[in-house]
Structures are given as structure tokens and as C-alpha cells.
């Protein structure tokens, strides 16, 4: 900054002189030359000079720099546009081809901050309201006093109310950082108090401790107290939301188990591996989409659902027919056998795909977050909750309202009676196990969005899944739902107080005590139906 000012003046002078003639080398063109030095210091000066030059080409060039599309080849600085065409940054004209020895200009965090600030000033008058909003946010953070005159002009010209609000807030933040008089400072405090979020709180905090004027100070302190109060309330709501989100993940992992363990009574240690297979099915589906239908990529997750279901269900049938059916009624052997199966599945996936994580990309509609009354909600988490509830509803419908569900319930409640009514119990066993496994596979599709797609994926969920099913009451779908959300919310309220490690222990202890008191869980099945 200090160094850039005199250099800039010199360059500006040179530019004026030259402008009379050929108009080739201006401050902007000179700034561009600095990129070939490939040093962070030079790049920083270049960014500031480019922003100050006011040249036509500065904005697209800086934007390209921010996106990592600005390259240097010898003396030529160029950037690629959306179509992969190279444009000369100095002249703005298309280059015939992409220079072969082009090197992308490197950035570090400091330069990225400088870029954000520079672009904040340049895009205040952009035609796109979203860009203007970004500019306002950048200025809110940078508190750059030099931007104040431009900001005032932008506020009076702004047609979109939301953007205008952001601009006014940015102005308030700048003013509060270096207030000219009491009235101005008080106005700024009022604006920030209305904004009422973490960042406003941070700025008011600084003002409350640093400003000398007692009136301003007390106003800032009052505003801080008001916002802190609001944030406290919000954090309760936030915890509930986090709890619901964690609960939905628990439910998703446990819901398949509530069929195989809950309804059929099989202790299936390979349940987690069904989830893992579902995640790998998602990975494979995405690879297919990437290779054959990149335009439809956003649909890859939806397409992965049936793939994961069928794959996990097929493996489930093989396990049931090959191993478990010989072990009905011998829980200990089932446990050991399925544990062996889980190890075999893990190691075969490790051999097939390698031990390292596989990347599953989030489609556009699942990335990012939005603001709901000051609550930041991630799209991905929201869709997982929706998806979990949909899977739950589907399963409930299948069990309660279809002939297959009726047979499943009949067989598990009284096998011999069901058999004498003409139900093929062996077939129903396979179908039920396949359903439970398939649902676990579907869970893998969602979990691939938030966790590692690695051979170990399933292991981290198996204990939690059993916990949820046992707590909810074996054989009761609604119990599983309630217990998953209860455990999730309980965990999230304990975590800020006790830390993640202690919260987990505390939940486990509570669970053990609860099971001591009510061995059959939250919602016990009553009556003769339960064969012990």
C-alpha cells in the first residue's frame, strides 16, 4: 500500500504523457506487467494499481484473477473466459490461441483479501444485483474508508431494497470504525443493531471498547447486550436444528437395521457395510454420469438411489441365503458370522477401490447455505432431513399397507402360524432382509454427502445404529424415529457444554441407565406377538 501510492502516481503521470501519443502503456498496462515477476508482493501492488486505474479491462481481469483464470505467458497477461477462449488482459482482444507456456497467477490469502476489497469497490455499480450485494458484504468486512464516497453514491442509486440495506450496513460499519461525530456514530450503531448478527456484534464489541465518546460507548454497549440476548435465543433454535440434522443421519443409518434387527431379530454386524456399499454405488454412479452424461450431473444422486438400493439388497439376499438362514435362532453365531462378513466386505472394497477416500461431489442444489431469521441452514443438511423422512414414510407404507408388508409382519410375529396360512416364510425372510439391506444402501447415498466414502464408512455408524434401535424399542419403527431425534437433539445440547467427547460418553451412560429401567426401550411391543 505504502509503496504502491508513489509508484502509482508516477505511472499515472507517465500514462498521461503517453496517452497523448499511442495510448499503449497506462497505469493499468504497467500493473499487468508486474504479474510476470511471480512474486506475491508484486501481485499485491498490481491488484491495487489495477483497481485504482479505472481502466475498462481491470474488472474482468481482476475477476479472472480471483477465479484463478488469469495467466502469464512471457509478457502477455491473458485470461480464459467461459468458453475457454483466451483474452489479452491488456487490450481486451481475443488471442488466436491459448499461449502454451501460460502460468496461472498464484494467490495467497492476503492477496485474496486484497482482491475482495478491490472488487468490492469496482462492482458497487455492477448491473447484477447479486454482485452489488457481494460488493456490499466485502466493504462491510474491509471497512475501507476510501470507498465511502462511492458507497454513498451507490446507496442513493440502488433500486433493490435488500442490496440497499446491505450497502447502508456497509456504510455504517465503515463509519463506526472511524466515526466523524457522535450523531454519525449513533446512527451507525442503530443500523448495526438492526442487522443483529455475529459480524455486527463483533464490530459493536470493538466500538464499545475502543471509542472514547461516552454516549457512543453506552449506545454500543446497549446494542451489544441486545444482540447477545438475541443470539442466545437463536443458539437454542440452532441447537434444535443441529439436533434434528444429526438425528436424521442417525435415523437414516438405523432405519434399515430397525427392519433386520428390529423386525427380524437378526444381529447384523454387516449392516454398516451395506451403508458403505450404498456410498460406493453413489460414487460409481457419479463416475458414470461424469463420463457419459455430464450435463445431467445434478441428477446423479437421484439416479444413485435405486442403484444403491438394488446393490445392497442383492448383497443382502446373498448373505441371508448363504449364511444367516442357517443361523436363525442362534444370535451369538449370527453376530460372529455377520461380523466376519463385514470384515470381508470392507477388505474387498479396499482391494477393489484402494484404501483412500473416494470423492463424491455435492450437486449444486445441495451446496451452500441460506439464512432463515438469522439461522444459517445448510442446503445439504436440509435435504438429508427431507430425504430421511421420505424414506421413513416409504418404509412405513410398505410395512403397513402392502401385502408384502403384511406377510413380513405375519412371519416375524408368528412364523409357524404364518407358514400354515400358506406364506412362503423363507421367501419372506429373504425379502425382509433384502429390504433392510437396501434401505441401508439408500442411507449410504445420503451419508456419502457428509462423510468419507472409504471402506471404514460403515463402522462409524454400526454402534450408533444399534443404540438408536435398542433405545427406541426393538420392532417399532416410530420408536426408532423418536429415539434417533431424541439422541440427536440431546447430543447437540450437551456438546456445547461438555465438549464432543464428554457429550458422547454422557449420552451412552444415560442410555445404559435408561435400558436398566426399561429394558425394552421407549416403545415396547406389547402382547403375545413378541416371541422371546
Amino acid at each position: 500500500m505504502l509503496r504502491s501510492v508513489p509508484i502509482f502516481r508516477l505511472l499515472a503521470l507517465a500514462a498521461i504523457v503517453l496517452n497523448c501519443g499511442l495510448a499503449i502503456a497506462g497505469p493499468y498496462e504497467d500493473a499487468l506487467k508486474r504479474f510476470s515477476a511471480d512474486s506475491f508482493g508484486e501481485t499485491e501492488i498490481a491488484i491495487k494499481d489495477m483497481a485504482a486505474s479505472g481502466a475498462q479491462g481491470a474488472l474482468p481481469a481482476l475477476e479472472a484473477l480471483q477465479a484463478g483464470r488469469l495467466s502469464v505467458a512471457g509478457d502477455t497477461v491473458f485470461y480464459l473466459d467461459g468458453n475457454g477462449q483466451a483474452t489479452d488482459a491488456a487490450t481486451g482482444s481475443r488471442l488466436a490461441g491459448i499461449p502454451a507456456d501460460g502460468k496461472v497467477v498464484r494467490l495467497n490469502n492476503r492477496l485474496r483479501r486484497a482482491l475482495e476489497n478491490a472488487l468490492g469497490g469496482l462492482t458497487l455499480f455492477s448491473k447484477d444485483p447479486a454482485r452489488r450485494l457481494q460488493a456490499a458484504e466485502a466493504l462491510f468486512k474491509s471497512k475501507d474508508t476510501n470507498a465511502l464516497p462511492g458507497l454513498e453514491k451507490a446507496i442513493s442509486a440502488e433500486p433493490v431494497p435488500a442490496v440497499k440495506k446491505a450497502l447502508v450496513e456497509a456504510e455504517a460499519a465503515i463509519m463506526l470504525a472511524r466515526p466523524a461525530n457522535t450523531a454519525e456514530a449513533l446512527g451507525a450503531i442503530r443500523t448495526l443493531r438492526e442487522r443483529g448478527d455475529q459480524e455486527a456484534l463483533a464490530q459493536l464489541n470493538v466500538a464499545a471498547t475502543s471509542l472514547a465518546d461516552p454516549a457512543v460507548r453506552s449506545a454500543a454497549e446497549a446494542a451489544v447486550a441486545a444482540i447477545a440476548q438475541r443470539q442466545k435465543l437463536l443458539s437454542v433454535v440452532q441447537n434444535v436444528w443441529y439436533g434434528l440434522s444429526l438425528g436424521s443421519v442417525l435415523l437414516l443409518a438405523a432405519i434399515g437395521l430397525s427392519i433386520t434387527f428390529g423386525v427380524m431379530g437378526i444381529i447384523n454386524m454387516a449392516h454398516g457395510e451395506m451403508v458403505m456399499l450404498g456410498a460406493y454405488a453413489t460414487f460409481l454412479t457419479q463416475e458414470m454420469f461424469r463420463a457419459y452424461a455430464p450435463g445431467w450431473f445434478d441428477w446423479s444422486l437421484a439416479a444413485a438411489i435405486p442403484v444403491a438400493f438394488l446393490l445392497a439388497a442383492a448383497v443382502g439376499v446373498v448373505i441371508e441365503r448363504g449364511i444367516i438362514r442357517f443361523l436363525y435362532g442362534r444370535p451369538l453365531e449370527t453376530l460372529l458370522a455377520t461380523f466376519g462378513v463385514s470384515l470381508i466386505l470392507q477388505q474387498s472394497i479396499r482391494t477393489l477401490f484402494g484404501p483412500t477416500n473416494r470423492e463424491v461431489t455435492a450437486p449444486a442444489f445441495m451446496s451452500g447455505n441460506f439464512d432463515l431469521f438469522g439461522l444459517s441452514i445448510a442446503y445439504g443438511r436440509m435435504w438429508i432431513i427431507v430425504f430421511t423422512l421420505a424414506v421413513f414414510a416409504f418404509l412405513l407404507f410398505l410395512l403397513k399397507a402392502t401385502p408384502l408388508g403384511l406377510r413380513m409382519r405375519a412371519v416375524t410375529q408368528n412364523r409357524r402360524m404364518a407358514a400354515s396360512m400358506g406364506i412362503r416364510t423363507a421367501f419372506v425372510d429373504s425379502a425382509t432382509f433384502a429390504l433392510g439391506s437396501g434401505i441401508a444402501g439408500v442411507a449410504g447415498v445420503a451419508l456419502s454427502q457428509i462423510d468419507n466414502v472409504s471402506p471404514n464408512l460403515g463402522q462409524s455408524y454400526i454402534i450408533d445404529s444399534f443404540m438408536v434401535v435398542v433405545f427406541g424399542g426393538v420392532g417399532n419403527l416410530w420408536g426408532t424415529l423418536v429415539s434417533a431425534f431424541a439422541l440427536g437433539i440431546g447430543n447437540k445440547f450437551l456438546e456445547p457444554v461438555a465438549g464432543a467427547v464428554l457429550a458422547k460418553i454422557a449420552i451412552l451412560v444415560c442410555l445404559i441407565l435408561f435400558i436398566q429401567k426399561r429394558p425394552s426401550g421407549l416403545f415396547a411391543l406389547k402382547g403375545r406377538a413378541v416371541e422371546q
Binding site: N109, Q238, E359, R381, S454, P455, P496, A500, V501
Partner: protein, 429 residues
């Protein structure tokens, strides 16, 4: 399965007894020199350790092409301790007593190293340990080719405190709950306090292994970071928990320009499973990055990708540590003219081997090595861009200068013949 391993165990105990009574006379058997590789190929640590096994196989193959060592071919003996800490000790015993290896390259987690330590001391063998660790250790039988805290953690914090790194004033020390993060964070906390950082500007947070729900912690970090002072996160989060952590950071829109995260356990390999578009600018401190352009490194990457038959295979810091350690061992054996354990241990300090990023690393009397220190920023392609590098090589400290219990200790196996010499009292231990 059970029977077999029990029989193997029995055999190994008998063989162990024999070897002991013979005073290690069988240390070299036949026409080959055996090198043990003790890395998990299954279980949770397989994700990191499998590549280290492969890199050792590649190095041994290459050395054999050059004619082996002392005119003999090297023979790799690979065992799988399956991420199971007691099994590490068992397998180490098998390597030393049954296979009679001349040296072992292995371990990743500190707990696995601690578990094999008594075996190496009892049977007197050599372990090369290639991973950055918490320090506070210097053993006669172990050579630490990974970074000590003063070669990774302290320089990273220094960088963030500098103007270049953003003048960070407020610190979140987030780690997985086990010995490496706890010790490192203890050292870092003491260091930060000594640099005048206030106690309330440090937030320490631990999470269990494989923690996958980071919503609360990330929002706590954001809250902590908006107190008006520049904030950074120092992450000693290990293994599987990293991917969900970074995904949550991206979800919450935490950008590196606002709150940078500097990680000590996240390298090229770990980032392979993450969409790095939203992580650009977050940092990692290592002694090696794949992106460093030197002829040695480019040759190594080429060789590795050819060995793996995968043009996308990435290299990382612990792999380079094995390259350095292996070359040092070969040089020491050639200099000593024997694979005799005691002679090799005495020869190793002072041995030099080039590292892959330019510069020559040297084995120090405390059994640590000199290393370059680099800070890299995550690039959109999952590689790192080196934004800062320490001047020259940094010598590894076995004992931290910032902890009360260890600031007077040094490890010196050349003159003092002990790993915990107290410079104040002039005594060992």
C-alpha cells in the same frame, strides 16, 4: 486362522529365545539383507499406511537394481498389523526374531510406535518412524524421520502471526482426542502464551476419532472468530474426521480469507476424497509438498506413478520421510560395512541424505533429522501451493523448549549416550 496365528506366535517365541541366546548371530541370513515393513494394510489406518508400504517396496526394488547393499540384494518382509496396536508389537517381534530383519520401517500413529518401543529395545533392532509426531521422545533404537513440533507446528503458528499470514491474534486449537494432538496443543498453548496471546484468545477443542457431525463445533469456531480479532484454526484433527470437518467448513461458507485453517495431518492423500473448490486458501504445514518443483521431486513422482501404474497417484510428506530414512540407512550400512544393529545405530548420526525439495537432511545425535519447513495453501486441484518456506533446514528438537517438564532436556546418543540428558543437572533421566 486362530490356530495358525497361535502356532506362529509360539514359533516366534521359540525363535526369539534362540536368537537371543545366539546373541544376534543370525542377524544376516543367507544372501539377502531383510528389511521389515510394519504398516497397516487393513483397518482404519490402511488409508494412510498402505502407500508407505508401497513406497518402501519401490525403494527396495530400486536399490536392488543398483546392486543392493554390501553386494547383497535387499529383501522386503511385509507384515500387516491391521491397525491393531497390540498386534504391532507382536508383528514387530515376528519381524525381528523370526525374519531377522536388519531394520524396520513402519508405524504411523504414536500409539503404535509406543506399543512397539519395548520390543525394539528388548530385542535391540532399528525402527525408522516416518510421520510427524508430538516429540518428547528420543530412543536409541528409533530414528524419527518425520517432523518434531518445532519443525511443523511452531513455524506454522509463527507464519500466521506474521504480516504475510494475516496477523492472527485469536487461536482455535482443534484436535482429535489422543496423544499427538493433546501434546502438540499443550506445546502450542505454552508457546502462544509466551508470545503474549491472552488466555481467553485461545480456544481448545477435542473431538473423538472419526467424528462426523461438525455443525456445533464449526459454528462455535465462527462465533469465536467474529470477536473483532483476526482468528485462525490450528487443526490436529486426524484421519477420517477431516473430510466431514472440511465439508462443514465449506457448508458454513468459512473462507480462508476470513478464518484460515492450518492443518498438520492433512496432505495430498487426505484431500483426494474432498471437493477442494471451497477449501482454496486453507493451509497445511509440512516438510514436503508434491507441488514443489525440483528435479529430484519430479523424478520421484514419475517413478512413483510408474510403480503404482496410476498417473494420478499422489505423493506426500511421510513418503518423503521414508525416502530419506531409507537412503540414510543404506549409507550407514555401507559406511559401517555391516548390518550389525549396534554399529549401524552408532554410524547413523551425522549421515546425510538429500531430501526431495532441494537441500540435504542430516541425522542428528538425538535421532531426529534436519528438515525444510513449508506452509502450503490448498489449490483447487487438491495440491498445495507453497506460500512460505523457512530459511535453510530446521533441526528437529526431541524435547520441546516450551514445556516446563522438558525444556532442559536434550537427546544425545553420540556423546552423552542417552535420550533425556538434563542440561541443568548434567544427568540422564
Amino acid at each position: 486362522m486362530f490356530k495358525l496365528s497361535r502356532r506362529a506366535l509360539l514359533a516366534s517365541t521359540i525363535a526369539g529365545g534362540l536368537a537371543l541366546s545366539a546373541g544376534g548371530a543370525f542377524a544376516q541370513s543367507g544372501d539377502t539383507i531383510k528389511v521389515g515393513i510394519l504398516h497397516s494394510l487393513s483397518g482404519t489406518m490402511a488409508i494412510s499406511e498402505t502407500t508407505l508400504k508401497d513406497v518402501m517396496l519401490m525403494l527396495i526394488e530400486e536399490q536392488n537394481k543398483k546392486g543392493g547393499v554390501l553386494g547383497k540384494k535387499l529383501e522386503a518382509v511385509v507384515v500387516d498389523p491391521a491397525s491393531n496396536w497390540p498386534l504391532f508389537a507382536e508383528k514387530a517381534r515376528e519381524l525381528i526374531t523370526q525374519q531377522k530383519v536388519s531394520a524396520v520401517f513402519g508405524c504411523w500413529t504414536s500409539v503404535s510406535r509406543k506399543s512397539v518401543l519395548p520390543v525394539f529395545k528388548e530385542l535391540n533392532s532399528i525402527l525408522f518412524y516416518p510421520v510427524q509426531y508430538e516429540g518428547e521422545e528420543s530412543e536409541r533404537n528409533v530414528f524419527y524421520t518425520g517432523a518434531a513440533p518445532n519443525q511443523q507446528a511452531i513455524p506454522a503458528v509463527d507464519y500466521l502471526m506474521s504480516e504475510e499470514g494475516g496477523l492472527v491474534k485469536r487461536w482455535v486449537l482443534a484436535g482429535t482426542d489422543y496423544v499427538y494432538p493433546r501434546t502438540t496443543n499443550k506445546i502450542l498453548e505454552a508457546y502462544l502464551l509466551s508470545k503474549g496471546v491472552a488466555k481467553e484468545d485461545i480456544l481448545i477443542n477435542y473431538t473423538p476419532f472419526g467424528h462426523s457431525d461438525w455443525q456445533t463445533i464449526v459454528s462455535d469456531i465462527v462465533k469465536f472468530g467474529t470477536a473483532g480479532k483476526k482468528t485462525a484454526v490450528v487443526s490436529t484433527i486426524n484421519g477420517d474426521a477431516n473430510v466431514p470437518f472440511y465439508k462443514e467448513l465449506a457448508n458454513k461458507g468459512v473462507k480462508a480469507t476470513d478464518i484460515p485453517v492450518v492443518a498438520f495431518s492433512v496432505g495430498e492423500e487426505e484431500l483426494a476424497g474432498v471437493d477442494t473448490k471451497n477449501l482454496v486458501g486453507h493451509l497445511a504445514a509440512w516438510n514436503y509438498f508434491e507441488s514443489v518443483k525440483t528435479p529430484a521431486n519430479e523424478a520421484f513422482i514419475k517413478q512413483w506413478q510408474a510403480f503404482k501404474k496410476n498417473p494420478k497417484a499422489v505423493t506426500n510428506d511421510p513418503m518423503e520421510a521414508h525416502v530419506i530414512g531409507f537412503n540414510m540407512w543404506v549409507k550407514a550400512v555401507e559406511k559401517a560395512g555391516t548390518t550389525n544393529v549396534d554399529k549401524v545405530i552408532d554410524t547413523l548420526p551425522g549421515i546425510e541424505a538429500p531430501n526431495l525439495t532441494g537441500g540435504v537432511s542430516k541425522m542428528l545425535p538425538n535421532h531426529h533429522i534436519t528438515k525444510p519447513v513449508m506452509i502450503g495453501e490448498i489449490r483447487p486441484d487438491g495440491q498445495f501451493d507453497v506460500v512460505w518456506q523457512a530459511k535453510g533446514l530446521v533441526a528437529g528438537d526431541a524435547w520441546s523448549k516450551y514445556l516446563d517438564g522438558s525444556k532442559d532436556l536434550i537427546g544425545d546418543w553420540v556423546e552423552k549416550k542417552c535420550g533425556n540428558y538434563n542440561t541443568k543437572t548434567g544427568k540422564c533421566g
